[in-house]
Symmetry: C2
Subunit: 396 residues, 2 copies
């Protein structure tokens, strides 16, 4: 294994002579037999593996080892590994699309890479060159490009993951790690989304809190939601709307950021999403949604299905369940939706809260005009049919 | 594989005909070559593996499979496994000791089993028969009994672990799991404990929160502490004293519960530990410490080194940093210590807070008389030299 003897000391207290992550050292071992690509209509989110995966390990003495694309297969890990016991595990969710000329495309991937680096830092995993990871993702996508679905609304989901692999039970930062990238062809995250997603507002279980880790994409933010989610499902709700504090501030929805569009007296619309106060995941679809609504209002673009003269004023601020209920009861809520990489834009049909259901306006096909206009615009950008500020990046 | 077709429906929504965890089905495959047992003095906590481990998998269709004791070796897992991405991972910390007649002994193991079941339920892992797990632990200890150190203060650390193994990326409870048990001979958790452990009080990063998971033994409670711990270490502190809320309530210390002994006007002593409000791990050493202090005060036992007439009044209640500082500044704090399975009783020498150090009374050998008396009593019970309410359980 080649070692790059750079002098830089990493944030992990490892030996100063450690190798940086070097995408140019990539070794590719192709699968001998390729699997049949399933009919996209039969896909369930995150349950299909492509032919290959990318794996690269970090060793506390040598640093980042040789990245390898190899046939999809199991990981072999010491049972003492930190990932099992203390959960220094981080991930990203991205998607690849086929562009107009048949080329694979990514959506604002540098945002995912920056967030992955912040996540890794938060749980004291080894640092890495984000550009190298992005290069490796592109290389893997090129190898498995035949798995990218071409049906609108379908894509190849990308799951970069880093897990701590220090094999010792003392509670300490993991000085070893395994970075790996998986691909999975995906259709709609929710079935029957056209009817909208029913949410249960939950404040007794708390997803995140000030000084906690909810603003980072850590695996450990998710398991605490499994039990509340199961209880919600038994009551007929699809996802949880996580509340925080005595004033029941809305934070996020399952694996999505939350948006509500409210009718103003002057005919304009307020589009409100909770502010990034450290308890909320800084979603890339969230950021894109805000930017596109602003672009519509400043006439840079026009959201399809929304009048060019319809001003949408975006707000990143705290919103409580009480405020939302008051607006809904007054008939001022136009639409509520969640956004995220996996779901894109998902309409919310009703919100269970304090023993009643806040019923939200129904729209044909699920999404209201603003949600639909945003979804169509983001999809057009993602698939390279519409250019917007260089957000869509071809895998060259 | 034999399947026990019981009718009981488990909490996981799995098929009703699933096998319960059955210790009588245990299969033992012994290692062909046994490793040399290292000199106990050279042991670093959690870095030595014994010859064997126990593994049993849960499958959503068949239920609990055949438990197997086999040579210590790697786990082979699908890279999509839930344990890597969403962290439904739980564990316990226990210890085995050699009794006066050479028999292996456990300390209040049914408490660990009950907590393991509560932890598993909190992250929606499959349910299991806790008595079966305890039987399997005892069988594993018997196989690796030669690894139990006999030097006072040394023991065989036991790490029962359950990880979610559902191999899919959709965010959902893990309907598959791997339960495994590791053994590791261990000496003192901290080196140089005789000088006491310096703590840094931290309130900006928050370990746990009302409605969070701090009251359960989940792997995911630990990784968020790695970065603050590293920052504290750079400032010369060994562990973090986690604070909560604007009033800076003391919660726990790294991987220990916190105790402070305060001199009263009437000559008695108040022994205070934060109450179990859901943000604090319900430690078994914590519970034992409270019970033994109470037993001393009611003259059921006498703590060695403490006058039989010295009354120790235990209190489980909120204590703020401000209160602790006030008592320390007034010279009323007799001793502070942390307790836990791994450390047993660890003296606290000073606490960094608001840019200054709260210096606590120094005692020869580290622990003050109450901490020392508790440590000696617990050790005597653990090693079967003293009987107390059936707390020490031989592995028969």
């Amino acid at each position: 294994m080649a070692i790059d003897h750079t002098q830089k000391i990493n944030g992990n207290g490892a030996a100063p002579h450690h190798a940086e992550l070097d995408a140019s050292k990539l070794v590719v071992t192709l699968a001998k037999e390729l699997k049949p690509v399933p009919d996209p209509e039969t896909l369930v989110f995150g349950q299909t593996q492509t032919d290959h995966m990318l794996v690269v390990n970090y060793d506390p003495v040598v640093g980042w080892e040789t990245p390898e694309i190899k046939p999809y297969g199991p990981l072999t890990l010491d049972p003492m590994s930190s990932c099992f016991h203390y959960c220094p595990n981080v991930f990203e969710g991205m998607k690849a699309y086929i562009g107009p000329n048949g080329e694979a495309r990514l959506f604002r991937p540098e945002k995912n890479m920056a967030r992955l680096a912040r996540s890794a830092e938060r749980v004291a995993l080894p640092t890495f060159d984000t550009e190298a990871v992005l290069t490796l993702i592109k290389e893997l996508i090129k190898v498995d490009a035949r798995w990218i679905p071409t049906i609108p609304g379908y894509s190849l989901y990308i799951r970069p993951t880093i897990i701590g692999t220090r094999a010792a039970l003392g509670v300490a930062a993991s000085d070893s790690a395994c970075l790996y990238i998986l691909l999975s062809p995906a259709g709609p995250y929710f079935r029957g989304m056209a009817k909208g997603i029913p949410l249960l507002a939950v404040g007794e279980s708390v997803r995140s809190w000030p000084g906690g880790t909810g603003g980072h994409k850590l695996g450990l933010n998710y398991a605490p939601g499994f039990l509340p989610q199961r209880i919600a499902a038994k009551q007929g709700y699809e996802q949880i709307l996580w509340l925080l504090g005595d004033d029941e501030k809305i934070t996020e929805v399952g694996a999505m950021n939350f948006f509500v569009a409210v009718q103003r007296e002057d005919g304009d619309v307020d589009l409100i999403t909770p502010a990034l106060d450290g308890t909320i995941l800084p979603g890339i679809t969230r950021e894109s949604t805000l930017a596109l609504a602003d672009a519509h209002t400043s006439s840079k673009i026009t959201l399809p299905g929304v009048l060019p003269t319809q001003k949408i004023h975006t707000h990143e601020r705290a919103i409580t369940m009480e405020e939302l209920a008051k607006q809904a009861d007054a008939g001022k809520v136009l639409e509520c939706f969640g956004v995220g990489t996996a779901v894109l834009v998902a309409p919310v049909s009703r919100i269970g809260w304090k023993g009643r259901d806040l019923v939200l306006p129904a729209h044909e096909g699920g999404l209201g005009p603003i949600g639909k206009g945003l979804e169509q615009t983001i999809l057009a950008i993602q698939t390279g049919r519409k250019e917007f500020e260089g957000w869509s990046v071809p895998c060259l």
